[in-house]
Symmetry: C2
Subunit: 297 residues, 2 copies
């Protein structure tokens, strides 16, 4: 999907956050903001939001000389998530429909997103309660859930597209329920915002249960032509693709193949695209267009 | 006061609004946004927010060829305000302290601000109820109010700095209480956002009761070196200056003379500067620095 002009304030906010992570010096922060404004003035807005964000964050990394401004934040989120993992698993297994509960949990974990606006993402201290609440949160996508169950039963080659650090730790809870030996987990090819890279997948301990690949790209989404041939092959050969987060949705929703998208709606543009409001949790099936979202679960 | 980097998202939002007022064509809107981003990338952020906004809106007027993108909005606000004026006056005169009630009303009217964020400004249909509520809203500035009463009693030459169209209609209610024959009302020298110009003062009928001057500037505030010699003389000679709105506060708070500022706090930067929260209504006295805000009224 195309970038909306309404996305621009969001990119500016991300640049402001990078400027604060990068320096304590107000003059340097100002220079970073000037670089961000110039970069956005020259960007092709007919591309998707993760394409614009890729160019912006690439430009800011180059300008600041910081390969990964969010590194410390990602590490903190992974560490916190690991302390919560076992408790969440116990709750999931004690529920009447553990698969559904696992999905609700990993969609809830999508709130760990440093690219989103303050009121649509979690502060560190709120993550435990937000995850507990997510288990009782309505998940929109009853029809998609039924179809996903059916597809899962026959799938041999599952590609799971991760989104953010911290969040990726919880993805394990869902992956454990869907034959991990059939799953390839894909992460970003290089740091961008707090998106999960190979380091985060390793920190999450996922190497023990799935094959991990990176997509070869530094976009906060999945821009297929930007991805490595290995990733593109995995994508083409998978008989089931499960995709986490709004960035992956924005870049893949127009693909002419079946994809199951799991995410928390974080902005009015996507809310209007889906027909639900901001902060709703969704399981969306698309195949050359979004299917009817269906009743809540 | 200096522009904060946190002001940048606000300028971007204003540019987005101009793009929508200027054209229905998404391509033209995109070009307007590119112009705004380029303009902000090159702006001197050590100046005040109204200085940056002046340059931005000047650049956008030049680019779009529209001398006044907000003209229709300003006319609508003036017309609505005129229909409410008499009722507000009756309520003010029936109150135990009509001067205080008039101040509360005109501070409440400062919510008519198309430069502010959506949740800190009034939608047209909410203006009547917001004004009624403002009469019962706490006004911070008890000490400043006592001093203003004292200063008013001796003042012979009062300069009243207006802020926005629509709002300026209600300013009459306060001016009527402070010897209008001693008041010079100053408006902007040219259109910028929905700030009041001479046309708005005339539409408000204020010519009947006060002398009207414009400040010769197209900034959404009062940048003294940018103002006409006539305005600068009025400013220097006034024995009491009453200033409406945040833009005038941002540009005049560091002046080494007594000024009474009346406004609604519309952003976290100003909230933190004043020590009160966003949306609070204030009467602030400054004289080479802000005096203690004092207890609420």
């Amino acid at each position: 999907m195309k970038t909306s002009l309404d996305c621009i304030p969001c990119f500016i906010r991300q640049a402001l956050e990078v400027s604060r992570l990068a320096s304590q010096d107000e003059k340097i922060r100002e220079d970073i903001m000037r670089r961000a404004l110039s970069c956005l003035a020259a960007t092709d807005l007919t591309k998707s939001p993760p394409y614009v964000a890729r160019n912006l964050h690439r430009s800011l990394r180059e300008f600041t000389g910081l390969a990964d401004p969010y590194l410390r934040e990602k590490e903190k989120h992974n560490q916190l998530a690991l302390t919560l993992l076992n408790d969440m698993r116990v709750k999931i297994d004690a529920s009447p429909d553990p698969l559904l509960m696992a999905i609700k949990t990993v969609v809830g974990a999508n709130v760990i997103d440093l690219g989103a606006k303050n009121n649509n993402r979690a502060y560190m201290q709120d993550i435990p309660s937000l995850l507990a609440e997510a288990m009782h949160e309505t998940l929109f996508g009853q029809d998609a859930y039924r179809q996903l169950q059916y597809t899962l039963a026959g799938a041999e080659n599952i590609l799971y597209l991760a989104d953010n650090a911290g969040e990726i730790v919880f993805d394990r809870l869902f992956i454990e329920k869907i034959s991990p030996e059939k799953v390839t987990l894909a992460v970003r090819g290089a740091p961008v915002i707090n998106d999960a890279t190979r380091e985060d997948a390793l920190a999450a301990g996922l190497r023990d249960i799935v094959k991990i690949i990176d997509n070869g790209s530094d976009a906060p989404g999945t821009i297929l032509p930007d991805c490595s041939p290995e990733f593109q092959r995995c994508f083409a050969e998978a008989d089931l693709i499960i995709s986490k987060g709004q960035g992956n949705f924005e870049t893949l929703v127009d693909e002419k193949r079946e994809i199951y998208f799991l995410f928390k709606i974080k902005c009015p543009i996507i809310a209007s695209h889906i027909g639900l409001s901001v902060n709703k949790h969704v399981l969306v099936r698309s195949n050359d267009g979004i299917s009817d979202i269906g009743r809540p679960l």
